[in-house]
């Protein structure tokens, strides 16, 4: 959580209270994507936490990535990650993105998302339920807040 050090409490509050999420399919089977879309529907209402779905990585703070990351997709994933403005967080949604699952050590994938991107939070499940995805995003926010607080105390 080193991204949020040297920021005042107000800025940390603002950054953790309005996570704009983006959605990226890194070669998944679409199961996790459907669950992400379900998490964005009125039934689960992630706008309570200030999260709004954005189309372009330039507007995003949190990128929800699904799938193990295929070799074909790898340069595009890196490019999309570089297009996001700091501070930025990657969430690996689903077992494939977290650990590789059945795609471990296959020739056409990167194994898991960790091998190409700095992932901050992992949401296991095949596919994870919308509740689990929301819980993951909330845990990421809590972690970011705690990390900022901890570094602040260390500096003091």
């Amino acid at each position: 959580m080193a991204k949020l050090i040297n920021k005042t409490k107000l800025v940390v509050d603002a950054l953790t209270n309005s996570p704009f999420v983006g959605h990226l399919n890194c070669g998944s089977c679409n199961g996790c994507d459907i669950e992400i879309v379900a998490a964005l529907t009125p039934r689960f209402d992630i706008e309570r936490f200030g999260a709004v779905l954005q189309g372009t990585p330039r507007h995003c703070d949190v990128l929800l990535c699904t799938g193990p990351g295929t070799r074909q997709m790898e340069p595009r994933i890196r490019r999309l990650f570089e297009q996001m403005p700091e501070p930025k967080f990657i969430v690996a949604v689903g077992s494939c993105a977290s650990t590789g699952h059945i795609y471990q050590e296959t020739y056409s994938t990167c194994g898991k998302l960790d091998n190409i991107l700095p992932v901050t939070a992992y949401i296991p499940g095949c596919p994870p339920r919308p509740e689990a995805i929301i819980d993951g995003v909330v845990k990421l926010i809590t972690l970011a807040r705690q990390g900022a607080k901890a570094t602040e105390e260390e500096e003091d």
């Binding site: 920021k7 107000l10 800025v11 509050d13 603002a14 950054l15 209270n17 309005s18 009125p42 039934r43 209402d45 706008e47 309570r48 200030g50 779905l53 954005q54 189309g55 372009t56 330039r58 507007h59 703070d61 297009q83 403005p85 700091e86 501070p87």
Partner: protein, 373 residues
Amino acid sequence: MSFIKNNIYPIFLIATGIFIAALFLAFQGSEAILPWLKYFLFPGVLFVLLMGLFYNWFDRKMFARMQNRIGPRFIQPVYDMLKLLAKEDITPDGVDKPEFDWIPGIQVILAFLVAFFVPVYATFGLISFEGDLIFVMFLLALVGGSVFLMGWATNNPYGLLGASRAAVAEFSFEIPLGLSLAGPAILAGSMRISEISVSKFSLLNLPVNFFAGQVTIIHLVYLIPLIILFAVSILAATALLEKVPFDPAHAEVEIVGGWTVELTGKKLFFTQLANFIMEFALAGIIAAVFLGGPGINDFNVNIGNWDVLGYLASILSFLIKTTVIVFLITLMRTLHSRIRIDQLVQYFWKYYLPISLIGVFLILVFMGTIGVV
């Protein structure tokens, strides 16, 4: 303590209001300090900023409630804006440099300038002169031009597509908007927003004046064209603000944000802030032209022009009218899905333009036969 922590924004808003009211009362006789306060605090920059954020929250909350969900917190727009200010500001390679840097700021200035024409507590706004309705229309056209230039400067296929769509939408809604604002102006016999708002023949003042006995029952026929023009002006305002039924210019799912696609950090903050302020300003101008703005004119005359209660009543009536208009825009956003750009052009040129022409024509015919008292 936690109550204060959880409700910091409403408390801040109320405290600011009390502070401004106190300053306003303390300096109401002093001509030297009042003008300064006017432009920076009460109907000026601070008030417009807070109202823009408030109406953004209101819009999102109503949208959420109509979808049967809870929706964002009251403080959410403030967090969003602060977050955008704290984010990294990226300037991609290949953008057109001066335009890309300047246009978001220019949009905020234009939005503030439009908001300064809105009459908030008195019959006149901060800026008011003969023919200012035309000047406001000119400013709205400049906003459309700035959107096109912004999309062009991003040098991105999505940005260019969004920009061309925004320009086409601008050509479509501008004439119906102008005509719908011209109807009440013809009835009032003036192109000045303050004089239109005190006219006896606006949409809200007409029934009120009928019950007060100032106009006869035959004059109520003016309500028909006024309702038509009011509906057209709400539709055109929805298109100008790029709200959902008329937002092919920055459709998130098709062209990933349209002309805003390359904007990050401060620049995105400025364009979004300009949109929020423009929502407030447009609602205020439509409220002034159709619903009489802050006007409780008889009330003002009875209790005196400098009376605190009169001002509070005027501000309250203005806020209620503006909120109703923002709610109508939100209702449009909730009920309809996004339409294609060719459908937008078709609707505005084939239906709304003739309808608004008929409205203005009816007003002219009624003025010729019945006359204005």
